[in-house]
């Protein structure tokens, strides 16, 4: 029995040694490690799957074209579990264990706020999709925003209502996290500046199940149009219940109201609603080519809301191609990116790290966004 024990111990030790050495060998190959922290599990999983699709398409195209100056990209994906602690853990794992050079991060503004200090300490260039306006103004030089921020989205909403509709009474429904609160605060501010009245504002905790009370409250306050500032899947539930109450007012939502993962859930309930979209399918040649490639790869239309990861990886790798694997230089190269034709629009980075400044107002017809108006406001 003693001999058997000894054999077992030696075998176990050899396996461990081989594993360590083996992974060392893998690491020595000529590849550049880039991290990605999408929500693979949790409430945002549906949106995460679409983000992963877009990013992997970009990865495939870049590597097929020779990678970064001959070196292929080694993508390290870590699940952020749709939560703030999860996002922090994913960031730490990507930087400390996977040792990535740069990061395509997350879309939830609350998660970005939660990880901002760590990103600053690591000094790692991070491409983000969150739109809370303060994200790029906190003095963290390592965040690069790939979607128009909420000063533009909220501003566009109010401008559209003021100039293109006869509505004067607005109701607001937002969730209590960074994105919802920040966006709704901006809507309220711009509405007052434009002379429109905010008759009521209702807030809900994320993942609320029953919106009857909130919708009725807005209706009884006389709202003619309701602005919804919240992420999916909450927007899908709101749309369903809004329909159930007989659509008592017009619905204008933040981008998650018109994204694919939302429309997949709300289906017919979303017919006729208005929303802000980062981009409308077919709005540029680059956009059209992206849609063709995406359809070929995945057999379905892409979702504009999650396509920021595609643009993010491409802008990041272009920067690394130009200046090499130095994080500080990558940062400067990204900020120097001006007039880059991406899927979501033409990127010209401000010194704060904001890339885009135009959004579209769309209406959902037969499950697809139809363009009503493009509003360009310039980053503030």
């Amino acid at each position: 029995m003693k001999n058997l024990q000894r054999i077992l111990i030696v075998t176990l030790l050899s396996i461990i040694v081989l594993a360590v050495v083996g992974s060392g060998i893998a690491m020595a190959a000529e590849e550049i490690k880039i991290g990605f922290t999408p929500p693979i599990t949790g409430f945002d999983a549906a949106e995460g799957a679409l983000q992963i699709n877009s990013l992997k398409l970009a990865l495939k195209e870049i590597n097929a074209a020779g990678g970064i100056n001959g070196k292929k990209i080694d993508l390290r994906m870590v699940d952020n579990q749709s939560s703030n602690p999860g996002a922090l853990a994913a960031l730490q794992k990507a930087v400390e264990q996977e040792k990535v050079l740069a990061l395509v991060g997350v879309v939830r503004s609350t998660q970005i706020l939660a990880t901002s200090d760590a990103i600053k300490n690591y000094g790692i260039p991070t491409m983000i999709g969150g739109t809370n306006a303060t994200l790029t103004k906190q003095g963290n030089p390592w965040l690069f925003r790939l979607r128009p921020d909420d000063t533009i989205a909220a501003g566009a909403m109010v401008k559209y209502i003021k100039e293109n509709t006869k509505f004067t009474k607005i109701g607001i429904l937002n969730d209590t996290e960074a994105f919802g609160q920040g966006g709704a605060d901006l809507v309220e501010k711009y509405a007052k500046e434009s002379g429109l009245t905010v008759v009521k504002r209702e807030r809900f905790t994320p993942h609320e199940k029953d919106y009857t009370a909130f919708l009725l409250s807005l209706k009884n306050a006389g709202a003619q149009i309701m602005i919804v500032y919240a992420p999916n899947p909450d927007t899908a539930v709101i749309q369903g219940q809004y329909r159930q109450l007989g659509s008592p007012f017009k619905y204008l939502g933040s981008p998650s109201s018109t994204s694919k993962d939302c429309l997949n859930l709300s289906k017919e309930a979303a017919e006729g609603i208005w929303g802000v979209a980062d981009a409308v399918p077919g709005q540029s040649e680059t956009n059209k080519r992206y849609i063709e490639a995406y359809k070929k790869e995945y057999n379905e239309e892409p979702d504009m809301l999650s396509s920021w990861t595609y643009d993010g990886l491409k802008i990041l790798t272009n920067a690394i191609k130009k200046v090499g694997e130095n994080r500080a230089k990558i940062r400067e190269a990204i900020l120097a990116t001006q007039g880059y034709e991406g899927v979501l629009g033409t990127f010209s980075f401000t010194p704060n790290g904001d890339g885009l400044s135009a959004v579209s107002i769309v209406q959902i017809e037969k499950g697809k966004p139809k363009l009503l108006k493009i509003v360009s406001l310039g980053a503030k």
Partner: protein, 293 residues
Amino acid sequence: MDWSTNLQMLTAGLAMGSIYALVALGFVLIYNAVNVVNFAQGEFAMVPAFVAVWLMTYLNLPFPVTCVVTIIFMGIFGIVFQRVAYYPLRNRTFLPVVISTIGVGIFLQNGAQIVFGAKPLPMPRQTSSEALNMFGVFVDPQHIVIIICTLALLVFQSFFFDKTKLGKMMRATAQDKEMARLLGIRVARMIAITFAYSSILGAVAGILIGPIFFVTKEMGGIFGLKAFCSAIVGGFGSVPGAILGGIFLGVVEVFAAYYISSPNRDAFAFIILILVLLLRPQGFFGEKIAEKA
């Protein structure tokens, strides 16, 4: 006081309350039978919801068939659960069994994710997605269906427990296992049936609530917690208490959110719980029972 708004909120509250009541009933029946709180009761509503979605979406089974299959599935599931999580620990104290049920709850959540994926799934609606116009008030037809189905189930249950032999045997087992055994009742079988019935209650809750919001692996946790509060508020161990506690909580939540404060609506369930525990710890319908040493 706008009565049409109040009516709309009342139906929503009654519908949510009915779901809490069904899950709370599951808690109470198991507790009465084996003196154990099944913390996986919420997942007993989540699992059949996923199963039903899968049957309808991938196997394209018609709704009535789906209901029957899901209910049978959950009945068997309850019996298996009882065998695996409760039976080996039945002679231990309260705590090991409770931990075992918590473990099963976690297992079910992650199992659901592995089997059905991480995305929320929509359940096909059987009622129309257009609002029903009742006396000039727009009401979600699914809410009405939930209320009617729950009422029907409760009427049936009351008849079952009161008038049928099996129902009386189950009540006898819940009251006093030793005595029931002495009278020739197969206690182990009664316990198995209780678990199966609690699971079927979960199945009904899951199928009814699924179309209103989407089926996610987290939905069990939210309902389980509110239902547990309902059972305590109604008097833990009392069947009418569980039902009325659930409905009370559902209705109060909606009205509190409208009239008092919207973002803190979840807090009301717990504020009520704390008040009840402070002022009337046995709940509305509970009895003050002293446990024998």
